[in-house]
């Protein structure tokens, strides 16, 4: 059948956990990149290790957005879906992220296990007018599968996708060998390649529409990296020497990467007995002069709060990475959300003097640790790096970031600060305690405490000492406010509507504004990287727009503003409503933003 040329398309592969969907995703990604395409990958990971196969919770899949230009987000709807069985197909249909004109390839190998269930799902698709093509693996492939222990459908599907996306077979086979080569015996490898070929032939036989995405020659060095890996390497480049953590999804992979890498750069990874101990050890080490970072997600953030408050009072630097996931409570460990914003900015008891940096993409992930270390050491206040499940797990090809190899924070390059819309802080910033020497410094002996103290560090409950401590800590925060430059704006500087977001929604907002402008909609976008404190000119910036609305992956409704909307309302006195405040666990989609913008501007 004909090959259709596309500038951008999206597809997904849905399988049961444990059958290698993620591996197929990795191979596809590497192969597409080797062929010169731009790719953005979002894995769909179950919350359990081995959920019951053929059940909705078993879904393990991969969404791949493919383009001939640089893409910033996972996009809108999938044009093509391969599903290993009807149950996971119907689960994904519930999410509503498909192109109604798209193609659904449903493997009917499991049909006899539950024919009624298959019929029901097919009926549902027919009712919605969806184009479902069923297929069954050929007998030879089934025999191969049986001979290698029943797992290998992922490679078969890889073959199908290779045909559909007109991939260079040699490149894909090369990537298969790179991925499995060392682990598989030569005869098993040969059988896998057989499955790949058979999948390719089957797709050919189905006479499917094929897609062609042009290759773009890349200039300069490129790297392929996901958010959490970029962050881990950023931690090393920023000169941190201790990572102290406790296992928690989706932050753990940072600890895994650093456990392998950090010792080679002279650092340590400490797996603490709990979340509290993890930040306690990092604070202890930073008091000793060792740049230290802790990482957490969801419940771990709640547990760390008391120590975060302590670090403010005791003026001990500390960086906390929060890879946000669905909440409240245990919530959805493997789904994305941006609902920790207020807990980060205002979480611990008493007054709050913290800085909250967010990351919008993998390059931000690499440089956020540098900025966080700069701010925490200059101000001796806790600094948050806010990532989320989506950013942490998305893979992307980026130009190789310029290395900084930071030792002394005063040497942080301007381009890193500018990326986060920040100017250099003043040289001499007043501390609550004048003496800030590190242990080992003769004559510099000093004690720190969570109790209120006077300027010498003596415990004091006198009114003047308390008020002064608050003023000094808050003045540190004001230094950041004054150092913040105007936030990033997409589109015109003044307009009918402004949509604002922070962290991982940047790509979707930027793309949505571009799409909306093409349709003549009078909308601009604004994105915040440092989200607390906020820049001083923010009120003036927001006042240039007739209406301001937020886009957040966090719950909000007409009676309860979502976190960013709440923060901006209080800081800028602007009536900001959520344009989109969804807590579905799924990233926001540019086209959905555009639809909402249209409704609002009607």
């Amino acid at each position: 059948m004909a090959i259709e040329k596309r500038s951008v398309t999206r597809f997904e592969l849905l399988m049961d956990a444990g059958f290698g969907a993620q591996k197929s995703g990795d191979i596809l990604l590497s192969a597409f990149v080797a062929m010169g395409k731009y790719v953005y990958v979002e894995p769909m990971i179950p919350a359990e290790i081995s959920p019951l196969p053929r059940s909705k919770p078993a879904l393990s899949g991969v969404i791949i957005r493919l383009a001939d230009f640089d893409i910033t987000n996972i996009g809108n709807n999938s044009d093509l879906t391969i599903a290993a069985h009807e149950i996971i197909l119907s689960r994904r249909l519930d999410d509503g992220e498909y192109n109604p004109q798209g193609i659904f390839l449903l493997d009917t190998g499991d049909r006899e296990k539950n024919p009624e269930s298959y019929e029901a799902v097919l009926k549902r698709c027919a009712k919605d007018g969806l184009n479902v093509i069923t297929f069954d693996m050929d007998e030879a492939s089934k025999a191969i599968l049986q001979s290698i222990g029943g797992k290998g459908q992922n490679i078969f599907y890889l073959g199908m996708l290779s045909y559909i996306y007109n991939m260079d077979e040699d490149i894909v086979k090369n990537e298969i060998e790179k991925t499995f080569g060392k682990k598989l015996k030569p005869d098993v490898m040969e059988k896998n390649i057989g499955l790949y070929h058979n999948g390719y032939q089957l797709a050919k036989g189905l006479d499917l529409l094929r897609y062609q995405i042009d290759s773009t020659p890349r200039e300069g060095d490129k790297i392929l990296i996901d958010g959490n890996t970029a962050l881990s390497l950023g931690v090393i480049d920023a000169g941190f020497k201790l990572f102290s953590g406790y296992p928690i999804t989706p932050a753990s992979s940072v600890m895994h990467t650093l456990a392998r890498e950090l010792p080679a750069y002279g650092g340590h990874v400490h797996q603490a007995e709990d979340e509290i101990a993890a930040i306690g050890a990092a604070i202890g080490a930073y008091f000793g002069g060792t740049p230290s970072i802790t990482a957490t997600s969801g419940p771990g953030l709640s547990l760390k709060q008391e120590f975060i408050g302590f670090a403010q009072a005791a003026e001990i630097p500390i960086v906390i990475l929060d890879v946000q996931r669905g909440g409240p409570s245990t919530g959805m460990p493997t789904k994305t959300e941006q609902s920790d914003l207020l807990a980060a900015a205002f979480g611990s008891h008493g007054d709050h003097t913290k800085i909250v940096i967010s990351v919008a993409n993998v390059i931000d992930c690499f440089y956020a640790p540098h900025v966080a270390r700069y701010l925490t050491e200059k101000l001796r206040l806790p600094v948050f790096i806010m990532s989320d499940f989506q950013t942490a797990n998305s893979y992307k090809v980026i130009s190789k970031p310029r290395l900084v190899q930071l030792n002394n924070v005063n040497d942080i390059p301007d381009f890193v600060l500018e990326r986060f819309h920040l100017k250099r802080l003043p040289e001499n910033i007043e501390m609550v305690l004048t003496l800030q020497s590190i242990p080992g410094t003769p004559g510099g002996m000093r004690r720190v405490t969570g109790l209120t103290t006077d300027i010498q560090g003596h415990v004091s409950t006198f009114s003047k000492a308390s008020q002064r401590s608050h003023e000094v800590r808050n003045e540190k925060l004001h230094h950041v406010q004054r150092a913040l430059t105007a936030p990033e704006i997409f589109g015109a500087d003044t307009n009918d509507l402004l949509i604002v977001g922070w962290g991982s929604t940047r790509g979707a907002i930027e793309e949505a504004v571009g799409l909306a402008q093409k349709q003549g909609l009078k909308v601009s976008g604004l994105h915040l990287r440092i989200v607390y404190p906020l820049p001083l000119m923010l009120k003036e910036v927001l006042s240039r727009f007739k209406k301001v609305m937020s886009v957040e992956v966090a719950y909000g409704d007409a009676l309860k503003p979502s976190p960013l909307a709440l923060l901006l309302r209080s800081e800028a006195l602007v009536d900001i409503q959520p344009l989109m405040a969804q807590a579905t666990g799924r990233p926001v989609r540019p086209k959905v933003i555009v639809e909402r913008v249209k409704e609002v501007l009607k």
Binding site: A34, G288, N408, V459
Partner: protein
């Protein structure tokens, strides 16, 4: 990280007790905490430890204030978490001497989990447990080590549980050093601190501490017949003033079975219960991993990710 230049110059002369003073401690007159503070000061002077190389770390409670009264480095941290702060320091700054000051509520109740893992990790520090068997700073509530039937402000009809025994807990957790002493026996307390300081690993020192304000009759200082000193060539010498007034018993600190017997007995025993100098140390192990790692240069950090 950078060190501000506002530290005063080092004094090259001998360290005296006076050098270790900061402000007058705000403990009740007669509190056992004074005895512990003084013993530690004497130890620092006797060994001529550099005050700048010492970090006292504490949690919350009357004991938590101790670091504020010693002119060394100090972190008065949050309730129950001193061990966590000390872990980070001990791991990254093996050149420093780390003392932890923690009460019975701080270490056996809110901080119990960290005590378990501090002992298990066996990182290098001296752990001083100020056991006054009561929550004092919060005003007389039952603690895990409060004796049964003793009335408190939260259990006015008498504490309902049997006291948790810190010594058997520590031994049961596999502590590499377990000693017990009391605030009112400066010689024994001093010798115990010495032995603990010289021990490589987590040295668990249990100290019977008088809370004269809330429980003045808990420890009978007029008589010595209610306790026994343990002695051994590898142990801690019985108190020079009190040894003659009560019994002393030979106990080999390598003998874990007898250690449990003494630790769990109704009677109080003071001395070194158990010591194992060869128990693996977490801080050493992690530094070993770093030392053994093939060094990489940050200039090639991203090269493995190139496509």
């Amino acid at each position: 990280m950078t060190t501000p230049n506002n530290a005063s110059p080092a004094c090259a002369t001998e360290i005296t007790l006076k050098d270790l003073n900061t402000e007058n401690p705000r403990w009740c007159p007669g509190c056992g905490d004074f005895g512990i503070l003084n013993a530690l000061k004497h130890f620092i002077v006797e060994r001529q430890l550099k005050p700048e190389s010492i970090v006292n770390v504490s949690g919350i409670g009357c004991s938590g204030r101790a670091p504020n009264y010693l002119n060394t480095y100090g972190v008065h941290s949050i309730h129950g978490r001193a061990i966590t702060v000390a872990t980070g320091l001990s791991l990254t700054r093996p050149d420093l001497s780390v003392f932890i000051h923690s009460g019975d509520g701080d270490s056996m109740s809110i901080g119990g989990n960290h005590l378990v893992h501090g002992i298990n990790k066996n990182f290098n520090c001296v752990f001083l447990m100020y056991d006054n068997e009561i929550y004092a700073l919060t005003k007389n509530q039952t603690s895990p080590t409060t004796r049964k039937d003793h009335p408190t402000s939260t259990q006015p009809f008498g504490s309902v549980l049997n006291a948790l025994n810190p010594l058997t807990v520590a031994l049961g957790l596999g502590a590499s050093f377990v000693a017990s002493t009391a605030d009112w026996m400066p010689d024994h307390l001093g010798n115990t601190i010495k032995a603990a300081y010289d021990h490589p690993g987590f040295a668990f020192v249990h100290i019977c501490q008088r809370c004269v304000h809330f429980d003045p009759t808990n420890f009978d200082l007029k008589s010595s017949s209610w306790y026994t000193f343990l002695k051994h060539a590898n142990g801690i010498a019985p108190d020079n003033r009190l040894a003659s007034k009560t019994e002393t018993l030979e106990h080999d600190p390598a003998d874990i079975v007898t250690a449990f017997k003494f630790a769990g007995a109704e009677r109080r025993y003071f001395g070194l219960f158990y010591q194992d100098k060869n128990k693996p140390r977490y801080d050493e192990a992690l530094r070993g991993i770093t030392a053994k790692a093939t060094k990489k240069d940050r200039s090639t950090l991203l090269d493995p990710y190139l496509i």
